[in-house]
């Protein structure tokens, strides 16, 4: 059975890159345990020799010619950027 504690919630939040305030960790642990406790009923299903299903579409992924068919749209690509400079996305300083 899942038993997610505060530290685990903090770890998942870090992996998901979502800041969660200290006082919200405990309630979130409760919510996640509720949901995971419920989905764990799947353990009772016998799935020996069953292949995992990733898509309902039988068809193989299509191939296409390896040619350039789009591009030269820098302005369009940057149009919705919260901050863009000199044709690039601008972000807070990464390297000290």
């Amino acid at each position: 059975m899942s038993n997610i504690d505060k530290a685990t919630v903090a770890k998942i939040a870090r992996l998901a890159r979502i800041k969660i305030d200290e006082e919200k960790l405990e309630p979130m642990a409760g919510e996640l345990n509720n949901i995971l406790g419920w989905v764990e009923q799947l353990a009772e299903v016998n799935t020996d020799n069953i292949e995992p299903m990733s898509s309902v579409v039988d068809a193989k992924l299509r191939w296409r010619e390896d040619t350039v068919n789009d591009g030269d749209k820098a302005d369009s690509v940057l149009k919705n950027a919260p901050n863009a400079e000199f044709g690039f996305y601008a972000v807070p300083k990464v390297i000290e």
Binding site: L15, K19, V39, V56
Partner: protein, 493 residues
């Protein structure tokens, strides 16, 4: 002048072609109806100038005899379809200010056929919800009220704006999307017709992604014929979506023959839920009687893994969502929050904390957990295996029957706040719709009756993959038998 907003798409199409009505007149009437419906909160962005421009183009096209089924028809667009230069946020704060530089294939198909855009429609944030209460833009009100009551009800979700605009006569049809029931459940709650086609029938290009292996677009309309007309326009192969399937699009309207004699209709015994309201059971039984009266053969079938569909869905869908929603990082579009002296990771974490609502965060957290090292096999891989078993159940059933009949939802519309504090209670809304989503099958919800309180109830028809025509045909027979002519009082106008 009679109220043009109560016309069906097929009726308006015929009047337009005869020259008895112009697209401009029809569009102006709808723009006024959209404004009059502000209190329902179905539209979060109105586009009257675009609508009038498209209406005039439609009139010109009709004049030269080049009209399609959707030419000159005013519709609403769910906020998760990218519309070039127009608000597209999947009703999330994190896409603040986003106006795409491209058009979704589904909407482009509609514009190519001459349809008219009235605006963008409210929805649960990123389509995660069954009541439209998770939208950043506030809840949508169901146009229907209980008999003798002024209380408001939820419209269902996630396509709450889509169904309310159509049930509330503020659009002749609306685009919607269905991941686990987001077309069918709200259609049932509002007395509208909703159709989720086979996965791969409508392109997902330009649809804001929630769970990519499940998401599928479809129409909301006021009757089955309109649904057939609109679905045909939305459908078709698209090289821009790798899961779009290259199969011909049939003339869906031609499938509405009303003749289901000799057809085999399956009744899945596992859908008789303990504790289900008696009126839902009664409606289902009524539907079975309608099938028999129309000359179909009713057959009991078994879908043994039905009870595992919801837990499977609530692993698969959050897992895919956590991956899809990783793109919202404050770098390329939408909201950006940078704490003082914060670095890049602080920016990611603050932006996502401020931009996502509680339900979306919850699902990203679940998805991240079930995909994380050490848990992947126990949760995600297990769910994918059970998904295969659910798919196999349907495959076996459809060797014996042509279509499956079930209730759409386990209850009528409920009150605001009734389930929003209990995620599991909310998830149970989709108990009848999720299995077919996991199997990628086409399904509809047809208005079939009223609850004791006078709220609409729907029946669900499921079909084989790529056999939307049978789903539509059976839906048409239910519609005819139910003679569902009730409509909400226009209390908001």
């Amino acid at each position: 002048m009679s109220d043009l907003t109560t016309l069906k798409i097929a009726e308006a199409r015929d009047l337009l072609r005869k020259g008895d009505l112009t697209a401009r007149e029809l569009t102006e009437a709808h723009i006024a109806a959209v404004d009059a419906a502000d209190s329902l909160n179905a539209y979060i962005e109105k586009t009257p100038e675009i609508a009038l421009g498209q209406a005039d183009a439609a009139d010109a096209r009709i004049k030269v005899g080049n009209a399609k089924g959707m030419t000159g028809i005013p519709i609403g667009i769910k906020d998760l379809f990218a519309t070039k230069g127009v608000h597209t946020q999947a009703c999330s704060h994190i896409l603040d200010g986003f106006k795409p530089e491209y058009e979704s294939t589904v909407t482009q198909n509609l514009w190519d056929d001459g349809a008219v855009m009235l605006g963008k429609l409210n929805m649960d944030e990123f389509a995660m919800g069954s009541s439209n209460e998770t939208s950043y833009y506030g809840p949508v009100k169901n146009p229907w009220r209980a008999k003798g009551s002024n209380s408001d009800f939820v419209p269902g979700g996630s396509s709450g704006g889509s169904v309310t605009s159509v049930a509330g006569y503020a659009a002749m049809g609306a685009t919607a999307s269905d991941t686990g029931g987001s077309i069918r459940q709200p259609a049932a709650f509002t007395g509208t017709f909703g159709m989720k086609p086979t996965y791969g029938r409508c392109s997902r290009f330009g649809m804001v992604a929630f769970a990519s292996s499940l998401d599928q677009a479809g129409p909301i309309t006021r009757d089955v014929r309109d649904g057939a007309i609109m679905l045909e326009s939305m459908s078709g192969f698209d090289p821009k979506d790798s899961t779009s399937v290259d199969v011909p699009v049939p003339n869906f309207e031609a499938a509405l023959t009303g003749d289901i004699r000799g057809m085999k209709i399956g009744i899945p015994q596992e859908y008789h839920l303990a504790g289900m309201p008696g009126e839902i059971e009664a409606l289902w039984h009524q539907g079975i009687e309608w099938m028999k009266a129309a000359g179909a053969e009713v057959v009991d079938i078994n879908l043994p893994h039905t009870k595992y569909a919801l837990p499977t869905y609530y692993i698969v869908a959050p897992a895919e969502a956590s991956s899809n929603l990783a793109r919202y990082d404050g770098v390329r579009y939408g909201l950006r929050n940078v704490p003082e002296n914060g670095g890049l990771t602080d920016m990611y974490e603050a932006t996502r904390a401020a931009g996502f609502g509680e339900e979306v965060k919850r699902r990203i957290m679940i998805g991240t957990y079930v995909l994380s090292a050490g848990y992947y096999d126990a949760y995600y891989l297990k769910a994918q295996k059970v998904r295969q078993l659910i798919y196999d159940d349907f495959k076996r059933a459809f060797e014996k029957v042509d279509a499956i009949l079930t209730p759409t939802a386990p209850s009528a519309a409920f009150a605001f706040g009734e389930k929003s504090d209990d995620p599991l209670a909310m998830y149970l809304n989709d108990v009848f719709t999720v299995p077919a989503s996991l199997a990628g099958l086409p399904g509809s919800s047809v208005p079939a009756g009223l609850s004791a309180d006078g709220l609409p109830l729907g029946l669900q028809v499921l079909g084989k993959a790529w056999d939307e025509e049978t789903v539509l045909k059976v839906s048409g027979v239910i519609e005819e038998a139910a003679a569902f002519t009730s409509q909400p009082d226009l209390w908001w106008r």
